[in-house]
Amino acid sequence: MIDVLQKEEAHEPVTGGATPPPDRVIVEMRDVHKAFGQKQVLRGVSLALERGTSAVVLGGSGSGKSVLIKHVVGLLRPDRGEVWVKGERVDLLDGDALDRKRLSIGYLFQSGALFDSMTVYENMRFFLDRHTKMSKGEKDDAIMEVLEAVNLPGTREQYPAELSGGQKKRVGLARALILKPEIILYDEPTTGLDPVSVRVVAELIVKLRDERGISSISITHDLLAAGIITDRAHFLFEGKIIASGTLAEVRRGDHPALQEFFEGTEVYGGV
């Protein structure tokens, strides 16, 4: 079992005087606004993720999906609104308190974001060296365990440049898993992959939810993946969530943007 250093210590939760979400809600965004200069990207996004479930945020390119997910992990701060993770306001945390919160969140970047000067093993070892007091043998075991979980035990000594796009995403996922997070955020986990790899990655996400109880938010415009992953889907359009529900419910929504998205996706390579 990985004993992560500086895991969240018992302290007074930072709430900013607001009412925390119920215990079953692990992530909640309330009326989040974000602008970059004159460009308003998020215009009052509200969504909630329940423990042990997978949410998918759908939307066209440039609709602000990545911006949304970056608020959850504190990479961006909202201009207005609240971001709750495990009963605390992430938007009010900083320094070590934010870092401690981040240790319970894994993040799979669109490109994998593997450190290209390190091998796959070193990529993961780097995390363990800095956050755990495990022995070398324990670290090796933990690394092999996550590599086996993503079905890539043979890539241990390879550099990221030697991996395919799908392998990079899976190694990125393995790295996100190495510190045993409770929540994983997936930024376009299947973009650029062939349909077989899409299915492999999507089923992996479901397996992590079912076997390890990991809650997740995936942002994607891939309906094949969304169909496999999602417990609850949200559709982001012009900075607002315009539809939420099961994927079938969202698909049936009567907003023209939904019609356009689902028809366009289906015409141009979706399910």
Partner: protein, 326 residues
Amino acid sequence: MSPYDPYRPEAYAGPPPEGPSEGPSEGTPEGDAGSLAARMRRARRARREGKILHEKGFGERTVERLRRGQGLLYHFLEQAGALFAFVGQFFARFWRRPFEVRETVNQMDEVGSKSFLLTSIVGLSIGVVLAMQSRGTLARFGAESFLPSMLALSVFKEIGPVLTSIVLAGRLGAGIAAELGSMKVTEQIDALEVAALKPFHYLVVTRVVACAVMFPVMTMLTDVIAMSGGFIESSLSSDMDYRVFIATAFDSMQFADVVVDTGKTAIFGFIVGIVSCFLGYSVRGGTREVGQAAMQAVVLSSLLILLADVVVVRISLMLFGPPGSG
């Protein structure tokens, strides 16, 4: 009115000829020439109108230029402010954990051993060339024996520190900015951030410290190699004994001179490190922006080294007086 000549349409004052009777007919060589002339005429008219429009738009163009200038000034001030904020961030975090000792040593190795061949060649050539160039001039005044002294003053006080720093700025500035820039665009820095790995400490503090520590070391080595180059030249040209060379070389120098002038390269190293890290860390976009950041890192670092040199020399003169005066 002069008759219309299709081959000299500029000489024709009146309207162009119309119909087959006055001009060359279409379909014949003359006709083709006529259409060529017409095209030339149209082109000239368009150019003329363009010029008029150009002149009409002069005021607007001036306003546009001023606006562009204002935009550039705003951009410059914005960048300068961001750089100062970055420097502030460096000093705020430098004292705080985690201290990335191993990574700092790796970066010192990068600055030191991997740049040593380059700075050695630079040092050796400076020494040899300076000795060759100065010998004739000194001989004219019968002062050839001052060659080692002049060499030492030039190398230790100015040429060694500045040239070494500029060479290192070229090698390291571009490398650091390109490395951090590509890490930024491939989200590797964000990956460090979300894993609570404090990328500023790991990437920036280590590199800046390595540069500030290693620049003086590399300068010292370059100075010694340059003096060796000067001695080789002197011994080949005038059979100078090494004991005489060393004694004469350091005769007019104080220890403080060497310390101050070598020590100033720590500031140059800091400049190269912080500017390159800042430009790499603030890359937005893709590979084009990474390339630009690398180029800007070299240019800006080199300029700031030269500016800082003026300031440091002025301050050292105020504090310690001219060389050899202590």
